[in-house]
Assembly symmetry: none
Homo-oligomer: 197 residues x 4
Amino acid sequence: MSPRTKIQFEEIRQKSRENIEKIALELFASKGYHATSISQIAEKAGISKGLLYNYFESKEQLLNSIIMKVYDELMKIVGMNDNLPADKQIEQMIIQTIEHLKKNITFWRLYLFLIHQSEVQKQLKELYNKMRIDYMDFVIKLFSEIGSKNPDMDALLLGTMFDGIALNYVTVPEDYPIDELKNYLIEVFVKNKKVKK
Amino acid sequence: MSPRTKIQFEEIRQKSRENIEKIALELFASKGYHATSISQIAEKAGISKGLLYNYFESKEQLLNSIIMKVYDELMKIVGMNDNLPADKQIEQMIIQTIEHLKKNITFWRLYLFLIHQSEVQKQLKELYNKMRIDYMDFVIKLFSEIGSKNPDMDALLLGTMFDGIALNYVTVPEDYPIDELKNYLIEVFVKNKKVKK
Amino acid sequence: MSPRTKIQFEEIRQKSRENIEKIALELFASKGYHATSISQIAEKAGISKGLLYNYFESKEQLLNSIIMKVYDELMKIVGMNDNLPADKQIEQMIIQTIEHLKKNITFWRLYLFLIHQSEVQKQLKELYNKMRIDYMDFVIKLFSEIGSKNPDMDALLLGTMFDGIALNYVTVPEDYPIDELKNYLIEVFVKNKKVKK
Amino acid sequence: MSPRTKIQFEEIRQKSRENIEKIALELFASKGYHATSISQIAEKAGISKGLLYNYFESKEQLLNSIIMKVYDELMKIVGMNDNLPADKQIEQMIIQTIEHLKKNITFWRLYLFLIHQSEVQKQLKELYNKMRIDYMDFVIKLFSEIGSKNPDMDALLLGTMFDGIALNYVTVPEDYPIDELKNYLIEVFVKNKKVKK
DNA sequence: AATGAATGAGTATTCATTCAT
DNA sequence: CATGAATGAATACTCATTCAT
């Protein structure tokens, strides 16, 4: 008869939020932001529309919340393994990005969607820019350390390749020979650079 | 004045269709498919909504019609210059794709949008697959002709690079050093291959 | 088969607009602005919700449109009879206001509603102020002409009386002895003033 | 510590009720009934929504409860000073009504709001009628005692004036010369009557 | 007595599509 | 061929009310 404690309430909220975000991520990623309705999200999450608004104040804010998670996760991949030497770090970054892509296809689908749905809102554009800059800063340094003649260009190319691979893998996962590409990337971006050094 | 012949009518219809498609392409690419309304298209095309439905039976069918044009145009770039030697053909394909991208950012924005839509619509998925296969067939042959050790992989990589470049250029056109990339691509995909031969 | 002319369309629009405004006036006046839904207006007007938005771009704008009519009508009563001598003008203003009130109870209900729902929006507040000032300017002049010792106060009092009478009549039309009041007002605001002159 | 007695509990309940009513009155009067949500009331009152429903079975019933208070308070003003002679009682009633209006603008705003609502709710209509009758009974008697030739009409007029003044003062408190009106009312409704006697 | 998560019917608004003219 | 009035289902969002704890 006594009311739940604050902690209990907080747990309930946290679980609900995460559940909603998970469902919304899937739907946004597979159908796009505009083509996904709040009703669909609520229904698939097994809750009422009203409750969704108890946790997210708008559809846009729900998207933002998800984007933040995407950003954090991508940055985690990049920043991982910073105790290794630079060449190994790049190698690991390539391996782990590809692995992550294979295991989290939904997640990457959303990432790609967001990039060119950036007309949706300024915030997204800003975040995307921040993400690019953070990525470039970090990876340029790595390429410098392994003696690349043009670390800016190499970092840019690697990023571009990741985008292209993700785009293709996400579109035709069963037909795209992603593992062969992985080895090729390591060869081009790690082994060849070192030889030249 | 004699009544217009059937052929004249057909020409008028054709021009009207093309005008609508042109306007719709612009709007879809700049604002997105969902955010563009039939009213806006009709208004910008200077016709009534009713008349638009005289030419296209639905918004979706209008999109499909546009997609066909995108397909044709992309294939035109690939198939161009088939009187040149293979290495020059690849070089030209790279140059012209990049040039096309720079001049038709709107068009490519739509192309990328479509890739995602293909997840949802069967028709689109089929078209996208056809496009990939046609591209691969043609480009694999070119790489074979210049003596590539792994023409399948080279064709795939070049296609992936195009996608990655398009994605980045479309997102941040002013910040993306597309011309430097062009030269690099030619070096990697044309000059280096030939040397190895 | 040929489309309607512009004039025909304009007539259709005009009739529809007026019908919607009439129904909306009734509902806003009897239930209040917030308590009246677009659905109710559309249903009572025998049209779809969508069509209503073809004519008025929002609920608020529909209200504004109605308010303008209220304003025009009230000012018409005040400004009427400007060819008569001042004392007759005041007398006529009293008579016609009361008559108008008796015949257009709905209309006055809305006027009263609006006054203290003016927090609804700035526009309303501004219009109300304009209305007060226009009324005062005109009526003060009339009282001056008949030699009132305090024309400002007399104009204010008469306005206040109109408001009080309208409020009471609108609330209990059958129980409020409005005709007796009419005569009393004429006596107090016209005959007594003149005597003193 | 002994358990609280029933009476203590009752007192706590009573205080809680009054607190909620006070907060709700403020919000209803300043934002309007429809624009005020139960959540807002609960939050401002420092309690949960659930608890509010422990005290009032619905939003409407909460409003009704408040209305009763409005009624009581208005009647208090009228019935005050019944030990004075009639002319002084009327004078005091005028003075105190105006003073009350100046100090409790929120309260009067609600009173005016309620008059309109009475169109919708039967309960309210009945209460309003009771209020009018009680007021008239009492004030007619006063005017009779000071020898008014038409006490019914005088009582009605005074009530009408109060309504009109309240309406105007509540709408534009800073622009309405309420104090000058007070003196005028006393002159018209008290001094002039007596002279004629 | 007290909490706030959860519901569901309701709100204003939009828009692809139809159709009488 | 051409118009735009008209529809209705869908959209994001709100809120009074209920109820398990």
